[in-house]
Amino acid sequence: MTIDGTDRALLAVIADGLPLDPRPYNVIGRRLGLDEEQVISRLKNLIRRGVISRFGVIVRHRELGYTANAMVAWDIPDRRVHVLGRKIAAHPFVTLCYQRRRHLPQWPYNLYCMIHGKDREMVQDQIAGLSGDEGLEKFDRAVLFSKRRFKQRGACYGAAPLLGRLKGAA
């Protein structure tokens, strides 16, 4: 998959969100030396190729009352992780599900999911239900509720110098 410099610059410009302007793609285009249609077609292309997995309103769970946010991590044998990962991901209350590299010996866990709920009891019940349904009780796991959020915003993959060059070229 090829992501060119302009795509990267576009993702960087929207990392903090689309402008709240009647013609946001036009505003973005002006910053990048692209026209509105080029911005829209590049975004469509990034979505079609799966680079952008979701495009829309990104909510903050906490401010909306979903204050119990649990990261659950299991130690699953590698040969079973794909099947179980897909099963866990299919539960509607699971918002993220990933296999990650272990960090031995401190952190033996390799399969993660995220659950956002209104209170800890509800989330504990969902974890218990999930574990029962998918036969996960026999695997060691850690449940980490979030306590404090220090930072949340969109990922910034772009490089400012690139943006400068593009603007200069426009």
Binding site: P24, R62, G85, A89, R101, S146, G154
Partner: protein, 149 residues
Amino acid sequence: MNLTSVDQRLLNDFQRDFPLEPRPYARMAAKLGVGEGEVLERLADLRCCGAVSRVGAVVQPGTVGASTLAAMQVPQDRLEEVADAISAYPEVNHNYERDHAINLWFVTAAPDEARLEEVLASIEKETGIPVMDLRLMAPFHIDLGFDLS
């Protein structure tokens, strides 16, 4: 802040498939039966009160640049100082305290692998605390947003 029914629909109905056309907010307004100006005003308020992080893109990890989840075991009396130092890096986009001995968890994204490694090494050096790099191996979920209904 009390949410109006328009607010609730703005939060719940447009988490994906945001209109890709010249006047996207006008399209949303038409679906909600309100004016474009009201949609822009409500979104600005929801952003201001923190309910909306942004209107934008979620980038699939591993498709552009380099990113990882990292974790550290930080002594409680240094937690704020260390968390603030980490949040100050523009490459860090999420940074949470979690209820575990390994208590500080953050996501780092950079234009390339070299810069990502550099940021993690720099955090380690600056804080004197080892950083666990928990690199993504496979994603399993499909990001459909978050059902608020």
